[in-house]
């Protein structure tokens, strides 16, 4: 004996399939940042900055591009940070010849803040990266009526990384630019 299958039952079961599919789909999209094995952070794992600064990411070349669609006409440098012991400070010197920009990325590679050298004060980009709690502590110590001398950026998590992009003003200026990137500070405060 086979059970009678009514159209209503088929519809109900199909609806159940779609419901499960929808839940699985949405949760897999939302969980992707935790599950993806090949995010930018992992791809750049062997780029290690030395001496509290930025490390230049090797330019993408045919057959070995760590990051897809990386702009090979710009110089890319990276600094990983960990705020568990306190805020970090990024300090770069800027000049009129070449453009420099910074982007701040969470552990997964998504950008949470970005700025260019237009934000520089007196020839310096002075940025503090901190968690929301640490920012509060810093602000509590501010002198009243005196504008802060640095740019403060709240990191959504304790770990992340800063990318520095530099656009050479001229082919001849590239060596100077690389030296400037090497001199850019990115280290725990204090």
């Amino acid at each position: 004996m086979t059970a009678r299958i009514t159209p209503g039952a088929v519809f109900a079961w199909a609806l159940a399939v779609f419901f499960v599919a929808g839940c699985v789909h949405l949760s897999s999209i939302l969980l992707m940042p935790r599950l993806a094995p090949k995010d930018a952070f992992t791809r750049l794992a062997d780029i290690e900055s030395t001496g509290g600064g930025f490390a230049i990411v090797p330019p993408a070349r045919p057959g070995k591009a760590a990051i897809p669609f990386a702009d090979s006409a710009t110089i890319l440098a990276m600094c990983r940070y960990d705020l568990t012991k306190g805020p970090w400070r990024v300090r770069a010197t800027v000049d009129d010849e070449s453009m420099v920009s910074l982007s701040f990325h969470g552990r997964t590679g998504a950008v949470f803040h970005s700025l260019t050298d237009r934000a520089a004060l007196r020839g310096h980009l002075d940025v503090v990266v901190a968690t929301a709690d640490q920012i509060e502590t810093i602000e509590a110590g501010d002198v009243e009526d005196a504008p802060p001398q640095d740019i403060r950026i709240t990191s959504p998590a304790a770990q992340g990384f800063v990318l520095l992009r530099a656009m050479p003003g001229s082919p001849a200026g590239e060596a100077r630019l690389r030296a400037r990137i090497a001199a850019t500070g990115c280290a725990p405060e204090g």
Partner: protein, 190 residues
């Protein structure tokens, strides 16, 4: 058929369906917030923390490092101005006025975002490199064989993608009509 067996089948089908939907949406790339100008497309919300969960999943699983919103905007083209896919079997010229940006680059990649091997070891041109005809008008030849003037090497065959990165583009760029990006004209095919 027992009730529990049906439930198991529903769950299994739902998982397969849900995960394939996730796979399909990731493969499709960014879904929302597209800005188009002729053959060029950019995604304006990818470079800030207003990024949607689908775009975040794409960034994370591809290893992309998108430009921050305040750094600039990257436009991608996979077809010429007439909608025909960009193919190494044809020659192209990218022609237009200097895009509205402080610095711009034009790069060529295969469909996976890797630079394409060429004898000239050239993968991108920048606003600093290019020769201009009459101050503002820029013309770049995209071809597998060397061209006089501005030449961006293309693969001898197969599809490719052009990326036009506008650094510190004025905020008006978000409306594509104001961008007035260059046209991509197809020349001779082999």
């Amino acid at each position: 058929v027992s009730f529990f067996l049906k439930v198991l089948v529903v769950i299994a089908l739902g998982m397969v369906l849900g995960l394939s939907a996730t796979r399909a949406s990731i493969d499709k790339g960014f879904l929302f917030g597209a800005v188009r100008d002729g053959p060029w497309t950019a995604w304006t919300t990818v470079g800030s923390n207003t990024i949607d969960p689908y775009a975040r999943a794409v960034v994370v699983s591809s290893g992309l490092l998108p430009l921050g919103t305040d750094e600039g905007l990257a436009f991608y083209a996979t077809a010429d101005s007439n909608g025909r896919p960009l193919d190494g079997a044809c020659d192209y010229t990218v022609e237009g006025n200097d895009p509205p940006a402080r610095f711009w680059t034009l790069g060529l990649f295969d469909r996976r975002g890797t630079p394409v091997a060429n004898a000239a070891d050239r993968y991108a041109l920048s606003s600093q490199d290019v020769l201009r005809r009459d101050d503002t008008r820029v013309m770049v030849a995209v071809s597998p064989s060397a061209r006089p003037g501005n030449w961006l090497p293309a693969p001898p065959k197969g599809r490719f993608t052009l990326m036009l990165s506008l650094y510190e583009s004025n905020s008006g760029i978000a409306s594509a009509a104001e961008a007035a990006l260059p046209v991509i004209r197809r020349g001779a095919c082999r």
